[in-house]
């Protein structure tokens, strides 16, 4: 297990050392919204304010807007200019366990069948350094979604708060390799493991919101055509899309071209199943009505993703609850799905 630790006041030194090999990303409020941003080389004030970022860390791998390629129209016709390979090795420092689990969930989509080169070229080189929560939000429900405030399953290294220090759990070989080559770490003391266990338990107990997802896939399948229920669920939604755009497991994107004179760019950008245009075809739209779009959002996470990948595409990060302008609450929705599974059989 863990035999190294780092003093909280030495985090800047640690990140400086890692910056020599990696593009280090850490929580930042520089842009006005808390997000993982390229570390500025000194600021560790996030250790005081950081509970979680508003923008999920997926943005480091699936940016809100991303150039796919450029093209030129010349005398010989079109020329397609492949994008330069992104060989930046990223180190995401301070990712929360819920968001790290979300990255594993996103990997399933981007790795399946034909691979997505933009996402994977960034992701395959990345090191995730987790930071266990000590102060989860009221909206968090990670302990109901297969993870916890200090779960290390989806990171390379996990840092657990033990007072003046962070205990470092070395999870993957990549994480172990990194620690082996890192200076400025301290050996753990005898009672550090016990302190870490205490810290974990305390954080776990602070996640008070619970969600029972037993049998949810089948319940949703049986209630798929229950228009009355979905109308009720969707009633107050204003289709702003924020619960999907800032969801750490949502991956939908749009692709568009821009061309000025003879030169153009194809780029992709986040999109949302909450928007009516998302599925609009020239002659028809299968999800013109709001309730159909809300149903898609809920069912994609709790029914379709489990059918395809055997995992619920929600990690209980609570962003969609915290950030919703009309207080829509996914946990209330999931708990109120009618149980028609017997009737359907």
């Amino acid at each position: 297990m863990a035999d190294k630790k780092v003093s909280k006041k030495d985090i800047a030194g640690l990140l400086k050392e890692w910056s020599q090999q990696f593009a280090v990303f850490a929580p930042s409020k520089e842009s006005g919204v808390a997000a993982m941003a390229k570390w500025d080389g000194q600021d560790t004030s996030f250790l005081d304010w950081y509970r979680n970022t508003v923008v999920p860390p997926k943005a480091s791998f699936l940016p809100q807007m991303e150039e796919m390629f450029r093209f030129q129209k010349g005398k010989e016709g079109y020329n397609i200019e492949p994008p330069p390979k992104d060989e930046n090795k990223r180190l995401i420092f301070g990712i929360r366990p819920c968001d790290a689990r979300a990255m594993s969930i996103l990997d399933m989509t981007f790795k399946q069948a034909l691979e997505d080169p933009y996402y994977l070229s960034k992701r395959n080189n990345a090191v995730l350094v987790g930071l266990g929560c000590t102060n989860p939000c009221e909206s968090c429900f990670c302990t109901s979604m297969g993870t916890s405030p200090t779960e290390s399953a989806d990171v390379d290294l996990m840092l657990i708060d033990i007072g003046d220090d962070f205990l470092i759990e070395e999870v993957t070989d990549r994480g172990k390799g990194l620690i082996a080559g890192t200076k400025g770490l301290k050996e753990t003391a005898k009672d550090d493991e016990a302190k870490a266990e205490q810290s974990k338990k305390k954080a776990y107990d602070r996640v008070t919101r619970k969600l029972d997802t037993e049998g949810i896939k089948d319940k949703l399948l049986a209630s798929f055509d229950d228009e009355e229920y979905w109308e009720k669920v969707a009633a107050k939604c204003i289709s702003c899309g924020i619960c999907t755009l800032l969801c750490p497991t949502c991956y939908c994107f749009d692709i568009n071209d821009e061309m000025v004179k003879q030169e153009g760019t194809r780029f992709r950008s986040w999109d949302s199943c909450g928007f009516p245009n998302y599925t609009k075809m020239p002659m028809e739209n299968p999800r013109q009505e709001k309730w159909r779009r809300v149903r898609q959002k809920v069912c994609h996470k709790y029914e379709f993703y489990p059918m395809t990948f055997d995992v619920i595409a929600c990690t209980g990060c609570g962003r969609c609850i915290r950030l919703c302008p009309v207080n829509w609450d996914i946990t209330q929705v999931i708990e109120s799905v009618p149980n028609k599974t017997e009737a359907k059989k």
Partner: protein
């Protein structure tokens, strides 16, 4: 019938289109054109392979991409074809292109019509409007291997006689004595001597036997919705009914999210589905 089976391009980046040249344009109906095209790259022109039912992402660079099935048959490979109705941004831009213009192509994507399942069976093709495009790839494929299949019925309709696509095919199939070709239009029209009535109704009249038969259906969603119940009445099981679906798509490879029907992505798991696969969702999602 997985995407991996049909993977063809060994290039690093699946999102980069190949440049192709439009070689011929056929005006099918007011608003619908068939584009004949070939790849600019000679090696690709020779080695490109696809199966009936697969689709591509077509670019008018600078305007964007749109999804169309490959409407020609892999048994007739001197060029490729797709058909597009002028309805949106990309199809309008396509409509402004002429012979010699360059387009982008990514693909082939998606699964294909299950030839092994269809072999040795009677085939009933049910098509409406531009929905004949994917069916004609399979129909020519089957006709070019005629001895592998039994009876062939084709029931095809459009709103008016001038909305009938691929009239040259309809004539050829009408002349083919091994094919029962039934063409219909929704309402009486001057000079029209064929059947009158919507496709599901004519299907009910023709009443093909379900025994050792597969039905392959493609057309506007409303036609598809009304055709399945007729086939059920004729004794077809959900496994015997195949369709190919169209949805708004961006990536074509199961990532961008929007083309799902329930847990199935049309691009990744389709576009060819049996009714058995989609019946839980089709009533309210298509």
């Amino acid at each position: 019938m997985t995407v991996a089976d049909t993977r063809f391009f060994a290039q690093d980046n699946v999102y980069l289109p190949h440049i192709a040249v439009i070689e011929k344009i056929v005006e099918e109906t007011p608003g619908v054109r068939t584009y004949h095209f070939n790849f600019k790259d000679e090696k690709l022109r020779k080695e490109f392979a696809f199966q009936s039912g697969q689709f591509g992402q077509y670019s008018v660079l600078g305007t964007g991409e749109a999804t169309f099935c490959i409407s020609s048959s892999p048994t007739r490979r001197d060029h490729l074809e797709f058909a597009a109705q002028k309805v949106g941004k990309v199809t309008n831009a396509l409509n402004r292109l002429g012979v010699g213009a360059e387009i982008g192509f990514r693909g082939p994507y998606g699964n294909s019509f299950p030839l092994d399942f269809l072999k040795g069976k009677n085939l009933v093709f049910v098509g409406g409007g531009i929905g004949l495009a994917p069916l004609r790839s399979l129909i020519w494929n089957v006709i070019d291997n005629r001895d592998k299949y039994k009876k062939i019925d084709i029931i095809y309709g459009a709103r008016t006689p001038s909305d009938l696509c691929f009239k040259y095919d309809l004539e050829a199939w009408d002349k083919d004595r091994t094919v029962n070709m039934v063409t219909t239009v929704d309402r009486e029209a001057e000079g029209w001597t064929g059947k009158v009535g919507v496709v599901p109704k004519i299907l009910e009249e023709v009443a093909p036997s379900a025994k050792e038969t597969a039905a392959i259906v493609c057309g506007p969603p409303i036609m598809i919705r009304f055709t399945f119940p007729v086939l059920e009445k004729l004794g077809f099981t959900p496994e015997q009914m195949l369709t190919t679906l169209e949805k708004r798509m961006k990536c074509g490879i199961g990532k961008c999210g929007r083309c799902n029907i329930g847990n199935l992505y049309v691009c990744r798991d389709g576009p060819v589905f049996s009714y058995a696969q989609i019946k839980d969702f089709v009533s309210s999602e298509y």
